[in-house]
Subunit: 438 residues, 4 copies
């Protein structure tokens, strides 16, 4: 009923940000806080025991919290009030020494930590698929293209290995991105607790890190960094999506996606199989990258905090993470069904009739007929309709090279450099990294 | 269940983009298309009649459409199939001569037209409130501030009149922004209909404009323009929110929002009344402005169209419009409860003890003791603890001016220029515009 | 010596923003101000006369102004001081009743007005070229592409007419964008002049508009609007650049740019002719669109103004305008040398062997063998190696259609709808608009 | 002559990007390449010797390179040609086995490495100043503010320590950001060299890293990461600038910048001392953050590369780095002259008459008169004109607490928690880091 159209891009990662889950985490943090408060003698042991028993989702329904919020207009405080209601005796000790931001920022850290783990899993799925493609196509020669023009050959494995390498770099940056909880109180001075130990104990129990200093909130610099490294993943997927779209162009047609047999390409043009899922990935990343300036603006909160970041983050974080998860899953699906049309790969490779190998020919001829001479001959020949033939019959060239030699030189399949070996070293490095982490 | 946290910013304008409403509009366009097709003899009259009777939300539930889409993976075509199912005899004539984009772009145009009307209404609400504030405070002198520093006085009415003027400019730009439907077929050549008349007739019946030429889709340039003028409204609200936040600072305290008596400012600091609703507006606009580059990227679709704009728009348009509506409504609520603390306004006005009027004094003294002389005297005096007194007793100044004259010159309330008259002319102009439109 | 690498994208429009030109305009505004001040009796007639004689670039070198600024750290005030120095007697009347922003915003308005005129000229150059292309290729049938896949045919003229239409829309929006000067004083209250007439007179003499109310500065909303409509022009050029790059792909090769005979495509691959100028346009627009959020942020100045917009605008405005001018000129050059490789256009048109016309065939067969039947036959046939042949020999089809009929139906050249007529109406409309303005 | 107005923000770091310097670096890379080529027997030893002698800025003036580029329209190839001209015998061996992007990306890596070192130095300058401020004001109690409203106290040292911590985090991220050169040839396959050793040797001699795989270019993902971490520095400076501007507001006035004695605050209002340098920092960062989406767009290059990133980077990189350097230097200057107006700090601290300490009072009273009771009493009392007095004379409170106890509780100076200790640990940690790096 309140589902925006883009809910079609929802994955289960979004559950992390649903109100129910958020409430669960908030109650968890309040319980951990009570435990630490009692451990350090700030509240009675019995209070912590009671809070640990009652401050739980099964006793505090979201509905009740929302009712209270309608009056108080304060989301976190409503939870504290709802929690107080269900505690028979020690309700007043809930939230002791904490400010709302302590709970909220810590909950956000828990959510992002959980989301990060899911995203990393889905990145690994893609890495494994890319490794497989790189290996399988290690030696499948295809034309390399720069500026949309045929350049010199590579292999399909080499093409995939480049994406593999980029995605792995993005992943490493995400792995390094830390997320922090906080329990330093109203303006970060630990005034209510009078000690930093309670924060320390709670963070340990939640397996979160904390900073040496904060204001009322964790610096939004941390969030900017986190968002920007997630965007790196999106950037690589966008590049891959663009590549796979271009390779499917009717005139290129080197790869094909699997389409369901009932799927409709076009309501007017039944012959079409459109790469709309890849276009959708491009469109989603187009949206995601725009989130960067806003997230950066959030850094400059005023004084010990203003709350202008809150709405921005409520909007941005769940979308960023859900949509990134969505495109990771989509890309996995697309790659799983991808086939390479080897016949067309070969056709395109020979489309320019060996012209791409003229550099190699130039090098060979330099020693016999001189570079300047060779260069001017070749420049003329590239304009010939049938390049290879024209080379084969050119008298000066034939003096230096046999027909077989010419054919070998002009065969683009012989001009792939170390492409296969480079594939090997990239695959090896990333396989080792993945194995090490498990 | 699938409600992202930011659903808290939802207003009823979002209904326009819900799937149910979208389906309603899609069926409407299909019916109008059938009518026009039959009018121009493209399909039998009976077909149009049947389609007009059955192709309606009451017969075609969203659930059925979604079932079909799960197989076809094509949203619009699923509607056509679902509609065909319910037509006893002439189902094949549904969608005749149209391509999916014809229906989708036309539906989007209908949605944006409807949304625009709602937004304009809410803008007018705000304009009327600003007019009222401008009039009521036409003569309430307050200090003007530049660079966060006290400058020379204005009136509170003048302050509001500036916002009034800006919002009115933004509104005019939104009023001018056209939205277009299309029915020009698969690549915009009207190949299936063989005439432009059907498009014309459908657009007339839907009260939409169309362009002289399109590709498969309405150019996304149109959408960029529309989005950017809506952002102008957001820009003005952001500025106003910032102003109202600053004027509420503890040290300034010139205005107050009405807070509900059960509202909680801070869970740790009960004395606080935080302008969080205004901060929320700032945060939301911070998000909205980031949508501009993405929307601009959408302009560059490839060839006769690629569909990468679709996901971006699904995400951006409903959010942009809903959030803009939300902040308009919020600002209306905030302004409705706003009070001006006249005592503090006056206190701040006199905070610099008349130093802001030194320019005026300089002009007066120029004729008697010379500009250079006067300037150096005044520069010294501004450093005095009690400026007004120091001026009053300065021998050279006293030779030129009486104590009463000095007091009059140094009273900032006498230095507001044409502020009230400017308020009058702005209010008059905008009131006339609003009256004319009704 | 201080030439950033991107100075290679400079056009003569940048002169408008050079310090010398800016100083000229500032002095012009000061002279006009003096004239108006004397007209309304605010300063002696002789003062205005002297100011009009001496406050000129030939007496006030930039060097002197810069020297003064090094001490005062105030750019506009340094000009006032430098101007005062050269006036023998009445120097103190320079700048009378004005604040720095009065002069600066008015000068910016003059610069933008001048820049707008240049840009509009260069847009018209492009419109005329596009009109020519649209006319010349009105009937040149080519394949239309959606999702990078062959769809149904259009004509090359139709392709260009779409760009023509979009650029014309962008132009109209730029034409409508107003720029405003101001002379309303320190906080916009006309306190120093005590009248709005002086502002009015100066604006008339400079042929500028002014607003009914401002703060110390013209609202930055005006600038956002101006910047965003210029970006519309960039958006269209980006789309056109992308199209022309894609149409030059080795596998598509429908168009060619003219390359100078000494030009080097690639240092390693001499056979290549890369569309780097078009890629450069794409890259520049990629940069330009990012300026939107910053320009939007500038709207929210604090109170009667803060100066945070100033640096942003100093950086953004000259670049936006110069780079937009650069890409307009570049695109004109590229289009002037563009050739269409008709042979390849035709080859691509027939690449799918008539499969694009299966919709048309479907319609024809519906009446004889029924839609369902026809659809399932055709779906099978599209998988045949040689589609047209397979159709020709299919028994059920041959019962309904003669070979000639089949050939006619499957010839994509017969399936361009109203493409030529649509070209005519677009060209006519825009030619009329251009003629009317002259 | 070609100096855009924003050249006023130029620092000497911009020299790194000037054409002269760029040419120097390009020649350096060509020399190193020749050396490695000869080491691995790809070119004659004599060729490397000659290249090492002649391919130097003193023989190859920028002017000559530019002349050649006018004809070839290829910047890198023009350098190769100019270098060939000056080599008496072995010119043909220059650039052997390399593609333009090899040289260009490697040069960019050298530039960014150099720029990074300069920026890190200037960051350290700021860190040291912030450490000094944090230490000096470790115990200077001031009011903490959230939502622009007085919250509970902190110390000025604590305020600075927060910025210290954030800047240090940003610095660490910049330190970690790697930059890579490449020499893997036309499409990254090492086809011309047939070995990866030459790349390895050149990178070692230039003290650069290289990747395991690239296409024709280093992935632009690397650049996005680098740009985004530099933006983190800008984000912290923006936040600091905003804070220092707000603390200078006339009504707050807790800090002052040093202004030169001839400096002019306002041409119309001589009493004003405007924080325009800080506003300028805010404006510049406002611009910088907008560069993020463009830099992200650059990631998605097509196939083995397109060159659309080149113009974007030419524009963005020098500006990003120069402007970041400029604001670092500016902020250092501003901080160096910053004074804290302790009198006003104290005045503001006591502005709310102890109301900020009501939480503390509440805690004290809970044990004697019960929480609910205490809370409702206090809520009433906060509305009293003179809060402290009202508390002092309240009968129920006086039963529990003595006047001295009340005074101590309500003195905000006693409510700073662990602010000083937190300052100590932050300062200690960052001082150690800085010492370790030297």
């Amino acid at each position: 009923m309140t589902t925006f159209p883009f809910m079609r891009y929802r994955t289960s990662i979004a559950d992390i940000f649903e109100e129910e889950r958020q409430l669960e985490l908030q109650l968890l943090v309040e319980r951990m806080l009570a435990e630490a408060n009692s451990y350090y003698g700030k509240i009675p042991k019995e209070a912590a025991k009671e809070i640990n028993e009652f401050v739980k989702p099964e006793y505090i329904p979201l509905k009740r919290v929302n009712e209270i919020e309608k009056e108080t207009h304060h989301d976190l405080y409503s939870i504290v009030l709802a929690a107080t209601e269900v505690c028979p005796k020690y309700g007043q000790y809930i939230h002791f020494g904490a400010t709302s931001s302590d709970i909220k920022d810590t909950v956000t850290a828990l959510q992002l930590k959980e989301a990060k783990a899911v995203l990393l899993n889905h990145i690994d799925d893609l890495l494994l698929l890319l490794i497989q493609f790189a290996k399988e196509n290690r030696d499948l020669v295809c034309i390399g293209r720069t500026h949309g023009q045929h350049a010199i050959p590579i292999t399909y494995g080499f093409k995939f290995a480049n994406f593999l390498s980029e995605l792995s770099i993005a992943k490493e940056n995400l792995v390094q991105a830390n997320i922090y909880g906080k329990l330093s109180g109203a303006v970060g001075t630990y005034a209510a607790h009078g000690t930093t130990e309670i924060e320390k104990r709670v963070m340990q129990s939640l397996e979160l890190k904390s900073l040496f200093i904060t204001t009322q909130v964790v610096p939004r610099l941390i969030f900017f960094h986190f968002v920007s490294v997630i965007l790196e993943v999106g950037g690589v997927l966008d590049k891959l999506a663009k590549e796979l779209r271009n390779l499917q162009r009717t005139e290129i047609n080197e790869i094909s996606e699997t389409f369901g047999h009932k799927q409709v390409g076009s309501s007017a043009m039944p012959q079409k199989l459109n790469p709309w899922r890849l276009e959708r990935i491009s469109g989603i990343v187009r949206y995601l990258r725009s989130l960067l300036p806003s997230t950066h603006e959030n850094i400059s909160l005023e004084h010990e905090r203003d709350i202008s970041n809150s709405s921005t983050e409520r909007i941005i974080l769940p979308q960023l993470i859900t949509l990134t998860d969505f495109i990771l899953i989509e890309m996995r699906g697309i790659l799983s069904g991808l086939t390479i049309n080897e016949e067309n790969v070969k056709k395109n490779l020979f489309l320019l009739d060996g012209r791409q190998c003229s550099e190699k020919l130039l090098v060979k001829l330099t020693s016999t007929i001189g570079r300047q001479n060779a260069h001017s001959i070749l420049q003329d020949l590239t304009k010939a309709k049938n390049f290879k033939n024209a080379v084969r019959v050119h008298p000066q060239i034939r003096e230096s090279l046999s027909k077989t030699e010419i054919d070998e030189i002009l065969n683009p399949e012989n001009y792939i450099g170390l492409a296969p070996e480079v594939v090997d070293r990239v695959v090896k490095e990333i396989e080792e990294k993945i194995n090490k982490q498990n």
